[in-house]
């Protein structure tokens, strides 16, 4: 009975249901298609990126058509004309006999890494066979390597991003949950004011804090340091954490804690054995928000760092407001997205619980 009911909605072909299915199809397409093209760009060579229309799926091979050109007057003269497949046709690329030139073109424009002499050896057959089509495997990680080679301290910036995120989570969750507990559990003078202050803190744009913060950090010798960044990222997140956790704390029945105390547990034990497990969803959600502030920020890192850049800043700098080499920046973004994707999906169910709890309240 229950099961029949479950799928009944899709079996009836009412106009509303058709509309819903169409709407969902649109939504899914508008999410998937941009991502598909994005991945394709990250794996595209310079040659592919300049083609129009763009391919939707990445390709890992490139086909070239090579023609041998001889000069009857001069027996020493040999040259190859190389054409690259674009869509259904072969477009002229270059003509050369120089192994270095061939090697460079293949690497720079087609993302194929192979020594020039090997190309010349391959091309020998065209002397007897005439025009031949060759298929070469692209280096799939070409843009990724290029991104890390082009950015100063590329790998270090990835490590920095991870460290800064962890520090931000640590600071905002530890300070914020204490504040949240105080707000939820104690009726004290000025509670409303504290609540209001926590909201005001979030309204000041983080850029605005970053500028004068530079002065302060230089004084403390923390300029261009990761902890300096983590401090700034914690500013909105301590407030957010206390707001999220206070909602959950006030939802937990204090009698549970009291019961634990009655049975002889210390306050600290009670906190770790009873209160903390129950607030875990709120803490997980708070850490996710803290993580995304630290992981996504560019402007603060731009103002407060010189050499200790974060990954998001490295990606931003790789493209800035220009358009060139967008495929390298795209490759960098893929590395930037992956950890965030994993983290978000692990923490997702806790956000669910958290907002659900606040809705009931």
């Amino acid at each position: 009975m229950q099961n029949k009911k479950k799928y009944a909605f899709l079996k009836k072909l009412t106009p509303l249901n058709v509309l819903i299915v169409l709407f969902m199809a649109m939504v899914v397409l508008s999410i998937i298609v941009p991502l598909l093209y994005f991945v394709t760009v990250a794996f595209s060579s310079v040659n592919e990126i300049s083609q129009f229309p763009m391919k939707m799926f990445p390709s890992f091979n490139v086909e070239v058509q090579v023609t041998y050109i001889s000069d009857p007057e001069d027996p020493n003269f040999t040259k190859y004309r190389v054409q690259v497949k674009e869509g259904d046709s072969f477009e002229p690329a270059f003509t050369s006999r120089n192994s270095l030139e061939i090697e460079e073109y293949f690497e720079r424009y087609l993302s194929v890494r192979k020594s020039g002499d090997e190309f010349l050896e391959d091309f020998e057959v065209t002397k007897t066979q005439g025009t031949t089509v060759f298929k070469y495997a692209k280096d799939p990680w070409y843009n990724f390597k290029a991104f890390f080679n082009l950015t100063v301290n590329g790998v270090q910036s990835l490590v920095n991003s991870i460290l800064v995120s962890l520090m931000t989570i640590l600071i905002s969750v530890s300070l914020g949950s204490c504040a949240g507990y105080a707000i939820a559990r104690y009726k004290f003078k000025g509670r409303e004011k504290v609540n209001m202050m926590l909201l005001i803190v979030r309204m000041f744009p983080i850029v605005a804090i970053s500028l004068p913060m530079a002065i302060l950090l230089i004084r403390f010798n923390l300029f261009d340091s990761l902890i300096g960044l983590a401090i700034i990222y914690s500013i909105p997140n301590i407030a957010l954490t206390s707001w999220i956790t206070s909602g959950i704390f006030s939802g937990i029945n204090p009698e549970l804690e009291e019961a634990s105390c009655v049975f002889g547990a210390s306050k600290v034990q009670t906190f770790f054995k009873i209160t903390l497990p129950m607030t875990f969803p709120a803490i997980a959600a708070s850490s996710m928000y803290a993580f995304s502030t630290a992981w996504n920020d560019t402007i603060t890192a731009l103002i407060l760092t010189n050499r200790n850049s974060t990954l998001a800043l490295a990606v931003y700098k790789a493209i800035g407001s220009g358009t060139s080499d967008i495929q390298f920046a795209a490759a960098g973004s893929i590395i930037l997205i992956l950890p965030a994707l994993v983290f978000t999906f692990i923490m997702r169910k806790y956000i669910n619980q958290m907002w659900g709890a606040s809705a009931i309240k």
């Binding site: 799928y7 998937i32 991502l35 994005f38 744009p205 004068p212 301590i238 105390c261 907002w355």
Partner: protein, 306 residues
């Protein structure tokens, strides 16, 4: 130990800290943190905004900003962006959440797909859409392949309202998931008895949604809406990375512009300070008004219900 059952004083007495001091002890780390790392920079920034390059007191930073023709445009653009994006996102999110809340076969898979953009960093989002909006980008590729338009469209040359709408679409693409989740969580936790009661009294599906579901969701929507508005008012990465500096002025884009684009003029940094103060004041006033109006409406509706 006679008073075992009167557990409240027991909790308190354990550590010998009174109930008046305890909350402040718990709040102390955050308060110290904010005094040092929030209040101090804010005061320092405010001070800086009233000084010139030599450190003398001046109002000129503000005067320059108000005189700047881009300033008014930046305020207007930001206001339009906030209003349109929040409206579009909440209506769409509401529809999506209501659909995802129904029980059907691919429910979980759909939710998973809808979630994906949430995890994508703003810089990456900007790159995704920049590769799309270029003249030889994927949007034009699709349009040509489907033969919707023969000529390629120069998306990135859009200006004014159409450029704002373009940014709203991009912003919606990334923000929609988190909004959907907030509403969906509320829906899933909603007590089914309310809906059943409504159905028994003969309410239609639409009436149940309008008169039972949405009012119950309202508190969490009001708060999440405020946080969303604050975030939307501070949008800048998208516009700078997609359209470039100065193409379409926004409030925080101005700050970043003063900081990054004209870094060698000593005046520019002071103007960035002044602009930060202005943005903070505008965001603050708007939030307070919003909060008051939202609260009053809730109270009025409660009275109407009686």
């Amino acid at each position: 130990m006679e008073k075992v059952f009167d557990s409240k004083p027991l909790l308190k007495k354990r550590k010998g800290v009174s109930k008046k001091v305890m909350p402040w002890l718990l709040l102390a780390p955050s308060i110290v943190f904010y005094l040092l790392f929030w209040l101090f920079p804010v005061i320092a920034g405010t001070y800086e905004s009233f000084t010139d390059a030599e450190g003398h007191f001046t109002f000129m930073n503000y005067v320059y900003i108000f005189r700047d023709a881009e300033f008014g445009t930046a305020i207007l653009n930001t206001a339009l962006f906030v209003v349109i994006s929040v409206l579009v996102q909440y209506v769409l999110a509401m529809i999506l959440a209501l659909i995802l809340n129904m029980k059907f076969k691919f429910n979980k898979l759909l939710l998973f797909i809808v979630m994906i953009p949430m995890a994508i960093t703003p810089t990456a989002v900007a790159i995704i859409w920049k590769t799309g909006l270029r003249e030889t980008g994927w949007i034009n590729s699709i349009l040509t392949a489907m033969s919707i338009s023969q000529d390629t469209i120069a998306w990135l040359e859009a200006d004014g309202l159409s450029a704002i709408l373009m940014l709203v679409s991009i912003d919606t693409w990334t923000v929609l998931p988190s909004t959907v989740i907030i509403i969906l969580a509320g829906l899933q936790n909603l007590n089914n008895e309310f809906k059943e009661a409504g159905a028994i009294f003969g309410a239609s599906k639409w009436q149940i949604t309008k008169d039972i579901v949405i009012p119950i969701l309202k508190p969490s929507i009001i708060t999440s809406l405020l946080l969303r508005m604050i975030a939307a008012a501070q949008m800048w990465v998208l516009v700078v990375m997609v359209l470039g500096y100065n193409a379409l002025p926004f409030m925080v884009e101005r700050i970043a512009y003063y900081v990054e684009f004209v870094p060698n003029a000593p005046n520019a940094e002071k103007m960035a300070y002044a602009m930060s103060i202005i943005v903070a004041i505008i965001v603050f006033i708007t939030s307070v008004i919003y909060y008051k109006v939202a609260k009053r409406n809730s109270v009025m509706e409660a009275n109407d219900a009686e």
